[in-house]
Symmetry: C2
Subunit: 223 residues, 2 copies
DNA sequence: TAGATTGTTAATCGATTAACAATC
DNA sequence: TAGATTGTTAATCGATTAACAATC
């Protein structure tokens, strides 16, 4: 009872932990620009308003080991986190649906910073096909499946309307794409091995608007 | 021990439940277009791939009461959910930062559909100020605070860069805005009474990329 | 009536927080 | 050494799921 651990831990990490990783990274990038070499969980927790134990567990998940009384080496921690969330070796992506949102994402610098390379955009609109948007070529969507296969694309970003989203996602999967980042307001039916993440703007709006309405109660108290 | 309940329940609802509400609505809107008048939790649960009890609890939260064996009246349920999440009476919004993403959101039809009215966009760029983007006037950001106050704006959408996000959010709060929808990759320091929702693209990317890397393990098994 | 469905109470599960021992 | 900090085990908390009674 001790083998198998040697390389590749790769346990399934809790989603909330994964979502926090980029926050840690942002703090650490800032530290790296200064001459600070060591950082403690306590510090990160304070800056991010989290429980120190939570931070400690998150960091432990990456496999890094800290030094009591000292903390973690900033550079080492950055590398550990980036590796843990796969940002040191990220797959290429296709984006389908070059409307307002799609165009914006094609030009979003944050992606490039995090190593996400959107290789091309796809659309049905003849006006758009053949042009470039933020330096990315726009191709006809009929070419998506075949090209995805040939280029070994791993990630598909869906920014088409709700009606066409399922069909587009199907084409992506047919082309061997293994992860779908869905910005369309529909639930996609996908084979279980496909990773689907929904960017759920309507959900966030619901949270905001409910909370706002809740506040109103007190104001409305009398009358 | 029985008074006070009469009107306005307005208990604090769990965030996950709130996020699911728009999903239910989408199903219900579709049903409403057909001649289906009644719907069961069982049906909604099946379509959305959720546990039926979960759906039942979510719906109960809105205050609606169903009929055993029959279910819920579609129209009534739509109204109950929309009211519950405040979509029948949503506040106006300002958007700051008319870059790629900001412009896209100004033209996003999904918002209008859900009753979110973005009144105007704000930017520092002299080229943009005075123009219209997707039919919304773009004003100089110096006018934001004052106008927000005079127009009783409730929601501020932050689509500026990470560096200016805090300053912009501060101006919004100074103008009486009570909810901030933050698309910038920074943590905003806000007074506790302000509702802050972060649209965390980097977090989602981390989830996707970690999961993708995880899949690779099996492929890499030997070699 | 029988059976599908609602509504509610109890059990489970997972993530966060608290407590504490180990260490440089 | 003393004290800050790591790392781990136990307790808490909240959301989901299971079990079951109530009802038309």
């Amino acid at each position: 009872m001790q083998a198998q651990t040697s390389e590749r831990p790769m346990k399934s990490a809790p989603t909330p932990s994964l979502r926090r990783m980029p926050m840690y990274l942002r703090c650490l990038y800032a530290l790296r620009k200064t001459d600070v070499e060591w950082v403690s969980c306590t510090y990160l927790a304070e800056v991010l308003q989290k429980d120190p134990t939570l931070v400690r567990k998150d960091l432990a998940m990456t496999g890094i080991v800290g030094k009591p009384k000292v903390g973690f080496h900033v550079t080492g921690l950055v590398a550990a986190i980036e590796h843990f969330i796969g940002w040191d070796n990220l797959e290429d992506a296709f984006l389908a649906g070059v409307g307002n949102l799609g165009s914006a994402l094609l030009g979003y610098e944050g992606f490039a910073q995090h190593g996400l390379n959107i290789v091309a955009g796809f659309d049905v609109d003849a006006e758009k096909v053949g042009t470039e948007v933020h330096g990315k070529r726009i191709l006809h969507i009929d070419k998506l499946t075949d090209l995805a296969q040939r280029m070994h694309i791993g990630i598909g970003i869906v920014t088409v309307g709700a009606r066409t989203a399922q069909a587009v996602a199907d084409r992506m999967v047919a082309g061997g794409i293994r992860a779908i980042w869905n910005f369309a307001p529909v639930r996609l039916e996908m084979p279980p091995e496909i990773i689907v993440e929904n960017e759920d703007l309507a959900g966030t709006l619901a949270v905001i608007s409910r909370r706002l309405a809740g506040l109103n109660v007190e104001t409305d108290e009398r009358e």
